[in-house]
Amino acid sequence: MNAPAYNFAYLDEQTKRMIRRAILKAIAIPGYQVPFASREMPMPYGWGTGGVQVTAAILGPQDVLKVIDQGSDDTTNAISIRKFFAKTAGVATTTSTDDATVIQTRHRIPETSLHENQVLVYQVPIPEPLRFLEPRETETRRMHALAEYGLMHVKLYEDIARFGHIATAYAYPVKVNARYVMDPSPTPKFDNPKMDNCPALQLFGAGREKRIYAIPPYTQVVSLDFEDHPFEPYRFNAPCALCAAENSYLDEIVTDDKGSRMFVCSDTDYCEGRQAAGHHGSMSAAPYKEKAQGEANG
């Protein structure tokens, strides 16, 4: 299956060595952003070039790869990256969270609990959590060196002053192993608790910004908050319209121009798994009816 013109998993060996060394340091210093010599990839920045480079550096022929984009296995970005590695590395791919050994993700953590033999690779657009508060790299670097994170608390406080609650809904800052404040990538804050004490290794790759960072398995990850305004994950107050799940993260889908909308699981594998197990939501009737009709006619 290997395309003859490219090395296994696309990247050349020298690049892989460089990325691998960065990954080892990232794991040794949880939450610290290790600079690396990010390469141009055959896709534009913002489409997961960082995640793709990390995946290419760790992927082997025995791996089973799953790629999700906002929880979905079926979007353009997810399909393209999955096909890219099927072509350049010949690896098996899957949409099942349980069967995957490497999961590359854009902006979600799967609903199904991860296990020890898995690596979760995040695509990260802006790795520096302090960047919008302090544009100078020299300054943010010094702030991390001194663990000077007062500015981030001021930002969360300003949310409370303005809106009455912490209004940050995604890319919600976390503190890793009680030291580094880290950007979890633009995952909804609903997913933050899943990062804490996770059995799987979590790797983060930012291609344009040239940073790799990591959370080792079983590492404490705490969402920043205040005693009187504790962290709260947010979820639309509705069951999934397809599988009736009450505890999954939901996408809001506008269904007409009269304000109708439906809420469905963002994690397609989780939702399909539940439907296959017989769970049905309020709007999952259509395929079910078609089948019943076909049976009646036949």
Binding site: N7, F8, A9, E13, Q14, K16, R17, M18, R20, R21, A22, I23, L24, K25, A26, I27, A28, I29, P30, Y32, V34, P35, A57, I58, L59, G60, P61, R141, R142, H144, A145, L146, N177, R179, Y180, P199, L201, A214, I215, P216, P217, Y218, T219, Q220
Partner: protein
């Protein structure tokens, strides 16, 4: 004199062997204390274990200044093999080394002499690879820290005997520090700077 043809060989399959070796080292670093096996084998020059040789072929290149202990740096076999297969520059000044290879723990210099990184760039530190007698039997050590679910127990016969006492300086240095990779034949265990070790004796 050894010619290139007489040098011990590198990996049979450069690409997949390096990938497999890296995953073992990555898993070791992510789960301190857990023993990982290095499967792919390469030729080993005198004084180098199989695991050490595989790690060298996987991680070293012209970008990684290398510091060798006395036994390794006196072996022309080792020097030629490293030069031919990895191209990594061997340096005398341990404080700028990306990796250090210690063939025999009794030759380990004071850890302060290696690169510890800076508070701004703690990743610019030496990864010290130490060959030890065994990672399946010997004294018990209790390990805690990121990557460990509660407590991990490592049984190892290690020299220097006070290695883990010496590594305590990682506690006060953090985020600076030294990451250690222990190798015994094809077994590998990593002790990153976040791991705290309590000796249980025995």
């Amino acid at each position: 004199m050894t010619t290139i043809a007489e040098l011990p060989p590198g990996f049979v399959d450069k690409v997949l062997s390096a990938q497999s070796t890296f995953r073992s080292v990555m898993d070791a670093m992510a789960r301190p204390g857990a023993v990982q096996r290095i499967v792919p084998m390469a030729g080993t020059p005198d004084a180098m274990m199989r695991g050490t040789a595989a790690i060298a072929l996987t991680l070293f290149d012209h970008d990684t200044p290398l510091w060798l202990d006395a036994r390794m740096s006196e072996s022309s076999d080792v020097l030629k093999w490293l030069k031919f297969h990895t191209g990594a520059p061997v340096i005398q000044d341990s404080s700028i080394a990306a990796f250090a290879l210690i063939s025999d723990g009794s030759l380990l210099p004071a850890l302060e002499r290696f690169a510890l990184g800076t508070n701004e760039y703690p990743d610019r530190s030496t990864t010290v690879i130490i060959q030890v007698d065994g990672l399946d039997a010997g004294r018990s050590f209790e390990l805690r820290g990121p990557g460990i679910d509660g407590v991990a127990t490592l049984q190892a016969s290690i020299r220097p005997f006070d290695l883990f006492e010496r590594l305590r300086f990682n506690e006060t240095l953090f985020p600076r520090g030294i990451d250690v990779v222990l190798v015994a034949d094809d077994a590998v265990v990593a002790i990153p700077r976040t791991t705290r070790v309590v000796s249980k004796g025995g």
